[in-house]
């Protein structure tokens, strides 16, 4: 049962990732990426990480991707123009990727242990995660809040129009 759910979510992830590469219009790529993130939230639930799954939906699919969609709408991004692709690159590259991918998968599936991860293996209730976050990982937590502050300042300065920036310092 867990295997069926894993394969279902995994199929959506891989299909979304491949669709992101295959689509020419960035809005379609953005929507495929949202589907990938939602399916990944399902995978996290299978592993028992409920809080991480919820935060993935709220932060990644619900805020970061909204920002991407917003910028695509604002800049009115159109379809990508096709440039001249190198035929050698396609002839060598695609079989190369497929061979490398198959080799790596074979090694990973064969030689890593077959210990199964049961569904809900490590329940991650918010209380225990908060315990770790605010006791053992307090310094990284504070540093990331400084990082967010710097990012906010940077984004506001970069995205404002140049003449507005000059007027602000009058």
């Amino acid at each position: 049962m867990t295997l069926i759910l894993f394969l279902a979510f995994g199929a959506v992830c891989v299909a979304g990732a491949v669709n992101l590469l295959a689509q020419r219009h960035p809005i379609n790529s953005a929507l495929s990426l949202i589907a990938v993130m939602a399916a990944l939230a399902g995978e996290y639930l299978l592993l028992g990480a409920e809080f991480v799954a919820a935060v993935q939906v709220i932060v990644y699919a619900g805020a970061i991707m909204v920002l991407f969609v917003f910028v695509i709408m604002l800049l009115n991004a159109g379809e990508e123009e096709l440039t001249k692709g190198s035929r050698v690159a396609i002839l060598l590259g695609v079989p190369g990727v497929i061979t490398g991918g198959l080799l790596t998968s074979w090694v990973v599936l064969r030689h890593s242990g077959t210990e199964a991860v049961p569904a809900g293996a490590l329940p991650g209730p918010p209380a225990e995660i908060a315990q770790l976050l605010f006791h053992d990982f307090l310094l990284p937590f504070e540093v990331t809040s400084v990082l967010i502050l710097i990012a906010i300042l940077g984004a506001v300065v970069l995205a404002s129009k140049p003449d507005e920036a000059e007027r602000r310092f009058d």
Binding site: T2, L40, Y60, A77, S112, V117, L122, I129, F137
Partner: protein, 100 residues
């Protein structure tokens, strides 16, 4: 029951798709989305290992990755808007002059 290697394989596939997208795409926003895809693949790896070794620190680290991804997306998109204002294009191949 799902073996751990299946999760790692899925994470690897997502990461590879992200790398391929980063290399072959020409629209700068799509390149950014490939970066986010790579980060998501890594997140899946973290959570799978956290479940395998019963260490909740793996899930905590996912938060830090998400925070960094959010900060980077915000600043990156601001840069994209600034570049679009001056160069009028979203094609990375055409942003190839240091001076406008």
């Amino acid at each position: 029951m799902v073996p751990l290697s299946y999760y790692l394989l899925l994470s690897g596939i997502l990461f590879t798709c992200g790398v391929v997208g980063f290399l072959i795409k020409r629209n700068i926003i799509t390149i950014f989305m490939s970066i986010e895809l790579m980060l998501n693949g890594v997140n899946l790896s973290f959570v799978a290992f956290a479940a395998h070794w019963h260490a909740l620190a793996g899930q905590v680290f996912v938060f830090f990755v998400m925070v960094v991804a959010a900060a980077e997306a915000a600043v990156g998109l601001a840069i994209i808007i600034a570049v679009y204002r001056t160069r009028e294009t979203l094609n990375v191949d055409q942003v190839n002059l240091l001076k406008l």
